[in-house]
């Protein structure tokens, strides 16, 4: 079965303000987008469990039909750039998404 990285053309993460990191998963064609959307493999619950956070840390999750995109947002561990920061732009938080298996 394919993984998310086989179906999505862009998988990225980036700060959305100083307290949140937002993730955008984009597809080249509507078929791949619908396949992932309808598979149930990518939901707020899956994200919370993958990143080992309570569900309320996922502050937004949506399927964006007009852009063939899946978008979600996580509250940060601490505000960006505080002492102890590991990713000030929030730009390397997405790789765990690559291996999500998309069933038929």
């Amino acid at each position: 079965m394919p993984k998310l990285i086989d179906l999505a053309t862009t998988i990225r993460s980036k700060n959305a303000g100083v307290d949140q990191i937002t993730f955008d998963i984009l597809f080249r064609d509507e078929k791949s987008y619908r396949r992932v959307r309808d598979s149930g493999a990518l939901t707020a619950e899956v994200i919370a469990s993958l990143y080992r956070v309570p569900l309320d840390v996922v502050t937004h999750f949506s399927y964006v039909d007009s852009a063939w995109a899946i978008k979600f947002t996580l509250r940060r561990r601490r505000p960006s750039g505080s002492p102890g920061e590991t990713d000030v732009f929030g730009s390397q938080q997405y790789p765990p998404l690559f291996d999500i298996v998309i069933p038929f």
Binding site: A16, S80, T86, V88
Partner: protein
Amino acid sequence: MERITLLSPTGHLGFTPIERESFYRGVEREPDALVADSGSCDIGPYPLGADQQHSPVEWQRHDLELMLVASRRLGVPMIIGSAADTGTNRGVDLYVRLIQEIAKKHAFPTFRLAAIYAEVDRDDLLFRMRRVRVRGLAGRPDLTPDVVERTEHIVAMMGVEPILKALDMGADVIICGRSCDDAIFAALPIRYGFPKSLSFYAGKILECASLCAEPFMAKETVLGTVTHDAVEFEPMHPAQRCTPASVASHSLYEREDAFGHALPGGYLDLRNCVYEQVDERRTRVRGARWIDSAEYTVKLEGAGRVGERAVAFVALRDPMAIARLEDVLGWVRQKVQERYGPSGGDTYELFIHVYGRDGVLGEREPTPISCHEVGILIEAVAPSQEQATEIAALAQRNVLFARFPGARGTAGVAAMPFDEVLPARTGYAWTINHLLPLEDPLELFPIRVIEVGTPVGEVKGGSKACRN
């Protein structure tokens, strides 16, 4: 007026210099305004907290000069948002000085410069907080006086209204303090009667310049054209295209919510946006809606000092040590605690970032460790630089001397690329990320107007200045 064209040359003026070729190609199209944002909170809280420069002044000068020369030649407005990364008063004054110097160098005829300030005085904010609730964003609690007291610098993000006011005052060049990226682009179209929805939508897409086009390129110029029923985007780099996919995907960029985008005075509803390919390189968007909010609020950003910082690096290659990593780190924490007490609170904080295990994601990392060497970055935060340095050194050296069952190496179990602790910048944190209600969208944003350049004909005397 049927249409208005805005030129966006960079997503962050001065961060890296603007690419000239696509910029000049855009200028040849004779846009109605040149607009660029110069700020970001991506750079962390230090530049705001310490009110320090982040990008080199000479790169900022380079970008301002390109834009000012084109704006004066075309005779169209130039609008710069969030001057010098943070949009503090220092940043605005720096850009005003740079504009004056560039104007003098080129001997431009007189033009009118408006500087719009956005820094918020702590006492003023404390006074306002007696009357209004300052709501926390992203799950933060409401703002309290003690948080304001431990904040060094506060800026408010202006909406379009102060920029409209500056345009009404006849400004040719506008230097804004902290401002909404979308607003600096939306101001001119709104002034000429184009819908707020499309004007702000244009701003949202143009604020990062070429990031709304594909393939990925930064710092290349993009043109946005607002009409009464649509917005069109066209990249000026010949190898880039604005496609429905690239524009739609950029509409999601750096925003929490896929469908709503909150701004001072209302929000942009993107749910019904329709993307249409006009030709190979242009995309047209319709369907954005603007919804007025009941209350006019501006976002406040504030940064406060946490402590002095020191960092050290040490690496593990011994597989026994990597297998016993928790014992190694436990030993380190124990030795530091024996001397300085428990980490956290007002005394000190010790962060141990383990690269090769979870150095990037921390406790959110789902993947188990699977490598033959591990890098450990030690970061200590303490009231003084001396204390931070001592704590980082003690932690680093105790990785070397870690005790764990099964150790074979008896001359140190870690490698140090240098036996050295590096002083780091003062640690700051974003203390304020809140919404302040205003009665008047202009009230926090004083405007100063200055005549710049060489007077044409009779010299009437020095420069005029007014402040309101």
